[in-house]
């Protein structure tokens, strides 16, 4: 179906940060999520996406307040179900840029099943999971990524359940772009967001984003300014140099698992990427070939033919 608007519009104004900024964020001062929002503004401004074609979506959680802070078409959905919501939008409207933001609880816990299937079906969207290892909106309960021993209101003796390994889960479930970044590393984050949005398919970024209120210092050992080390994945350059041997092949699934095995804080960058066809493309192929086989009939002619068969 055509979704074009043919109305003559005046020449487009440049998309500025001001144009895409909405409410002042309600996050606590110092929250890592501010940096993610700033990077999103930067990428939209840099790439000059048509304003009305930006769609910003989220489920529920601190980080899921994101769409309220972006002036653009957006929706704040229910807890854990933002991936299927985004799937519907993406599948029906190839003209849109579908961005989805959420937290670790929304993505890996209540929405875990949808994450698996969105990834498996390779539905075209960009999903940033702002992982703070704790439930912040509900004030400090254990999250699916809380490390063992983390003391929370639901684990006063320290968390005992093995946390989700985000990279392993995403690679295993079939996501076709899997990356990891850190909210304190703005340039790296921008790079990752841009690569994710350029990737046709289900692209997910886990962004470690500190909750200063309920898990302060959680990611300090991956932050050079706090005395940690931010170790970036060296990707293969295919330059026939001996150094290239040791570099990471992003299409190598087993190598991605090996990187994901590195103990916390691990490494950052693109773990995995492949160009498996998207559900968007596969469904479109089916629609196009079906309609071609039928000779591009009108809706009325099609339905009338069906009714004629039922006489």
């Amino acid at each position: 179906m055509s979704t074009d608007t043919l109305t003559a519009e005046p020449p487009r104004e440049k998309l500025t940060k001001k144009a895409i900024t909405a409410d002042h964020p309600t996050w606590c001062p110092g929250c890592g999520d501010f940096a993610v929002l700033a990077c999103y503004y930067k990428v939209l401004e840099k790439r000059q996406i048509e304003h009305e074609k930006i769609v910003t979506l989220a489920g529920i959680g601190c980080s899921s307040r994101f769409p309220y802070f972006v002036n653009g078409h957006g929706a704040h959905f229910i807890h854990g179900r933002a991936v299927p919501l985004a799937s519907g939008i993406s599948l029906a409207r190839p003209d849109l840029h579908v961005f989805l933001f959420g937290g670790d609880g929304d993505g890996f816990s209540i929405g875990g099943n949808h994450l698996d299937h969105g990834a498996r079906k390779n539905i075209n969207m960009t999903y940033v999971i702002m992982d703070n290892f704790v439930y912040g909106l509900t004030k400090k309960q254990t999250s699916p990524t809380s490390p063992i021993g983390f003391k929370s209101k639901t684990d006063p003796q320290g968390a005992i359940d093995q946390p989700v390994n985000a990279m392993k889960k995403l690679v295993a479930s079939g996501a076709t772009f899997v990356a990891r970044t850190h909210a304190s590393q703005v340039n790296h984050m921008i790079q990752m967001i841009e690569r994710a949005m350029d990737h046709p398919g289900f692209s997910v970024i886990e962004c470690l984003s500190e909750c200063v209120e309920f898990f302060p210092g959680a990611f300090d050992n991956a932050n050079p300014r706090k005395g940690g080390a931010f170790e970036v994945i060296e990707e293969k350059k295919y330059d026939n140099t001996p150094e290239d041997e040791a570099r990471h092949d992003v299409t190598d699934e087993l190598a991605a698992y090996k990187l994901a095995q590195i103990p916390f804080p691990g490494v950052f960058g693109v773990f995995y990427q492949n160009d498996r066809p998207t559900k968007n493309a596969l469904e479109k192929k089916w629609i196009d070939s079906t309609r071609e086989k039928l000779g591009q009939p009108t809706d009325l002619a099609l339905l009338q033919k069906t009714f004629d068969r039922m006489k």
């Binding site: 055509s2 002036n71 078409h73 957006g74 519907g88 949808h114 099609l302």
Partner: protein, 643 residues
């Protein structure tokens, strides 16, 4: 339905009923019940009969029970063919086909006195001493195996029987063969040939030796210009109604008895450039559908009760966020997994009130297979106009039965489904002074203030607010859409007497049996009428004017009377109208209402002429509903807890 026997005159050789000679040659109404096991294909044999009747301009209604087991188990398919209007599947059968001993034992009581039992003499030994029936034994299994080349399998019995029935009822053989050919078109040619061989063997069987007369349906000359008859089941009618209503996107998860709607849409929508997605679960399905709707393409999701329970949170979001959405619930027996293949109307409360918070949504219910088609179009129109979730309630009996109806005028009905992305100068998604119109992404907003669609309570732009005033105003805004809709819903017509002693009120698939019950009660001198509600939330305005004209109002529905003695619609009507003369007839046996059953419940313990109840109604003090005598239409009188 007809109080006098209406099968043709017949003098069969012994053993024959003495009553058989009463039958006329020509018939206008016949109920044929096929009883066997589910793997015997009796549904497809029944469906062929129904399709043929539809093609012969006869009215037709079918009734089917299927076991919940994966394969096997007793199953029936009942076809009622009439030359007049056929509203219900028939209380009793004129003709019973029994494939097995259990089929005979379980269903012989449904056979009318003087009716014909056609049985597989390889498997059934009827009690021939019972002189009420005409017995026709045919070695169906043996003859089918023989006809199909002596394979060890007895597949094809259904088509053999179809041939037998075609002979007995003088059906149009050429049309029937054409139907069989169409059914197997596109498959291996040998399959169609095998089917035709089985048919021919059944048709050629000298059934005349045991049943001397064949019957023939009265032929009704088709009026010039009269529409052709379409034959389909309720789930097909829903699916094609959605397509006519401009719905091109949807998502679902398999569950009986909803699945065939999604199967049809999955295959059909791509032909129209649309898409149906099988989701990972019910929550994913409703969320994908909401994504489609948000993108500007009104979408459908559906399920049966258990799946609707899972979708409930997202439906509340649709109500809050004011995003249009269609939700089909093909109801089955509940709660929990309940009775997956039986019929019940116990999800009305769930449809209207399911979920947390005040979350108004529209609820419609289809009354017939034909209505499944039209109600889908209406639901789509309402969802778009009011930007709100709309439920369509169907049930197992509508989903699985085949009816013939006038071909819809598609040229007048087809809706254009294109998303409206017309640029707007300015846009408030939740303007308080008008009905919300969702502006899908891709819509340029010239003043640069883009809408945020939100499940948090919000201001007019969609931004979160905790303001008590705004929550009150927005709650009222969402509710008032339904009040506005109520004004445009037509008041249902009264069937039967426009005023009198008893008004039956029904909703959903009970339309046929309730109307047949009114007809029969009128014949017995009752002053009785009926209304059927297609719009359950909001209710149409003006029902009180109809209620005022009757001494008692009996709501007939297939659900439990609950703790306080009233079914779900009865409870709502009593709350809405504070009308103590509203009574309730309910049942929970998982089967469709029989006409006789309704009459016996409505006029309980009395002959039809008795009007004991009117004494109470005429002098009804306020809140008489707490008195047991006022609920005596209910089988078990439950002590009333409210006043």
């Amino acid at each position: 339905m007809n109080p006098t026997p209406n099968l043709p005159e017949n003098n069969p050789p012994a053993p024959a009923s003495e009553r058989a000679d009463l039958r006329p040659e020509s018939i206008n109404d016949a109920v044929i019940r096929l009883a066997g096991n589910s793997q015997d294909g009796i549904q497809s044999a029944g469906a062929f009969l129904a399709r043929l009747a539809g093609r012969s301009d006869q009215d037709v209604m079918t009734y089917m029970t299927i076991p919940a087991t994966i394969s096997g188990g007793p199953s029936i398919f009942q076809v009622r063919i009439g030359t007049g209007e056929v509203l219900s599947a028939g209380d009793e059968a004129d003709f019973l086909v029994a494939f097995y001993q259990h089929s005979y034992q379980d269903h012989i009581d449904f056979l009318k006195e003087g009716g014909v039992l056609l049985y597989d003499s390889d498997n059934v030994e009827p009690n021939l001493d019972d002189k009420r029936f005409v017995y026709v034994g045919v070695p169906i299994t043996g003859l089918t195996v023989e006809a199909l080349g002596g394979t060890a399998k007895d597949k094809g019995k259904n088509i053999f029987v179809l041939g037998l029935i075609s002979k007995i009822f003088q059906l149009d053989v050429e049309k029937m063969k054409k139907l069989i050919g169409e059914k197997f078109a596109g498959k291996d040619a040998s399959i169609a040939n095998t089917a035709l061989m089985a048919f021919q063997a059944g048709y050629g069987y000298p059934v005349g030796k045991v049943l001397s007369h064949q019957y023939q349906f009265e032929h009704v000359a088709k009026k010039p210009g009269a529409p052709a008859q379409i034959t389909m089941d309720g789930n097909q009618a829903l699916a094609y109604g959605l397509i006519a209503g401009g719905v091109r996107y949807g998502a679902g998860y398999p569950i009986t008895p909803w699945s065939s709607v999604m199967e049809i849409l999955r295959s059909e929508l791509p032909k129209y450039g649309g898409l149906f997605v099988q989701a990972e679960d019910e929550l994913g399905a409703v969320s994908i559908a909401l994504g489609f709707s948000y993108s500007g393409n009104l979408a459908i999701t559906g399920s049966a009760g258990p799946g609707i329970s899972l979708k409930t949170e997202a439906i509340g979001w649709a109500s809050m966020a004011e995003i249009p959405l269609l939700i089909i619930n093909v109801q089955r027996g509940g709660p929990s997994t309940g009775l997956p293949t039986n019929v019940e109307q116990s999800d009305l409360f769930q449809a209207i009130y399911g979920g947390h918070g005040d979350s108004p949504r529209v609820v419609l219910a289809a009354k017939t297979v034909e209505d499944c088609f039209y109600i889908a179009i209406e639901a789509a129109r309402i969802a778009r106009k009011y930007s709100t979730p709309v439920f369509i309630l169907s049930d197992t009996s509508l989903a699985t039965r085949i009816e013939a109806f006038d071909e819809p005028k598609l040229t007048e009905l087809m809706q254009d489904p294109k998303p409206d992305l017309t640029p707007l100068d300015t846009h408030k998604p939740y303007a308080l002074d008008k009905i919300t119109r969702h502006a899908p992404p891709g819509t340029p907003i010239r003043d640069g203030k883009y809408p945020l669609i939100s499940g948090l309570e919000h201001d007019e732009f969609g931004h979160p607010t905790g303001s008590p005033k705004l929550h009150m105003a927005m709650t009222a805004k969402r509710r008032n859409k339904l009040r506005q809709l109520a004004e445009e819903i037509p008041v249902p017509e009264v069937f039967g007497d426009a005023e009198g002693d008893t008004l039956l009120v029904g909703w959903g698939s009970t339309y046929g049996p309730i109307h047949d019950a009114v007809k029969r009660a009128l014949e017995h001198g009752e002053k009785i009428g009926a209304i059927h509600l297609r719009h359950l939330h909001p209710l149409p305005n003006g029902l009180e004017k109809i209620f005022a004209k009757f001494k008692r109002i009996v709501v007939v529905e297939m659900n439990d009377q609950g703790v306080y003695g009233f079914g779900q619609l009865a409870t709502i009507l009593r709350a809405r109208y504070c009308e103590p003369k509203i009574q309730s007839v309910t049942k929970t046996d998982g089967l469709t209402f029989r006409v006789r059953e309704i009459l016996e419940d409505v006029f309980q313990g009395r002959t039809f002429a008795e009007k004991k109840i009117t004494k109470h109604a005429a002098h009804a003090p306020e809140h008489i509903d707490t008195a047991p005598e006022n609920v005596d239409s209910v089988k078990e009188v439950v002590p009333q807890g409210v006043g």
